[in-house]
Symmetry: C2
Subunit: 158 residues, 2 copies
DNA sequence: GTATGAAATTTTAAGGTTGAAATATAGCAC
DNA sequence: GTGCTATATTTCAACCTTAAAATTTCATAC
């Protein structure tokens, strides 16, 4: 191993290094998001938030409560209300009350929603694959592992 | 070197690996952004987009055109119009016309804006440092390098 | 069963965001 | 100088987003 630089004896990287990392992480996310948003609009006439909600619902055949959706997607409750409303209007999702608790809405994909999402998901996966094509396998793997560690460290803390 | 896995002879990681990487990148960004947004609101009564614009202006003592700001921050032109307007109303920034081209607005920080930003930037840097504290220095460095490569590969392509 | 408090969701106000249309200025061909 | 095209910005409609207040329903203590 290499000896620690004189400028820092505390744990981890010096401050500037972490700030730089955060800025690059943010810029990379925004670049990718911008491309995905544009293509979802152009080819499927939809938005990234709607895609995200469809994606969450697709993993839950029995449906999800509104609050499950918002916590899974890391967005606010009120936010989900509007997006789901538009998905329901578009015939992509359905809402129903859970037996025994009239507070809870259960949101599910409709057959049309499942079908539409399948097509989007296939394209989305291809686009991401293409956008990240420049990353060598080992770097991709290392990055993913680091980010996973990061996220589990922060579970529930934000 | 390790021999290539049978499932992929093409460059880089297999599809699923990249998709997973993207999802983790996005979730990490959102988690960090949520914390920063909340703290900026609580301690400085401001927002992340305003902080971003102040940050861009702070690097350009001679001021920036609206379009410079939007391309630097990777957001749309119309977006910047509104944010700058609020910053001007708050006394943080000033707008003037450039000699010889009445189309171009030059936006600068006011002394109050400079001062306010200095305090925010100091806190922001501390917060980021704290949020990323779990990352060992070598991983932070490697990650930053990977992301930098990624961004330069995509210059102007989005 | 009544009050009290907790839980799930919606509503509201303010702001952020985009893409496209509109406006205004500049520069150039002629 | 007139007209054409490009550039810089703003405006607009639609949507996304949050935090906080309001609403509805449930659960529990009494």
């Amino acid at each position: 191993m290499v000896s620690a630089p004189l400028t820092s004896v505390r744990s981890g990287a010096p401050t500037k290094e972490r700030l730089r990392l955060w800025i690059r992480l943010l810029r990379a996310s925004r670049l990718i998001e911008a491309v995905l948003r544009e293509r979802l609009k152009a080819r499927f006439d939809t938005t990234l938030p709607r895609f995200d909600v469809l994606s969450a619902l697709d993993r839950a055949p029995e449906g999800m409560a509104m609050s499950d959706i918002s916590s899974f997607l890391l967005v606010s409750n009120g936010n989900v209300t509007g997006i789901v409303e538009r998905l329901v209007n578009d015939g992509m999702a359905s809402r129903s009350k859970r037996d025994g608790d009239r507070r809870t809405s259960i949101v599910k994909l409709t057959p049309a929603g499942k079908e539409a999402f399948a097509a989007m998901a296939e394209a989305h996966e291809r686009w991401v694959d293409e956008l990240l094509a420049g990353l060598p396998e080992d770097e991709a793997r290392a990055l993913a592992a680091t980010l996973k560690t990061f996220e589990s460290n922060w579970e529930g803390e934000a």
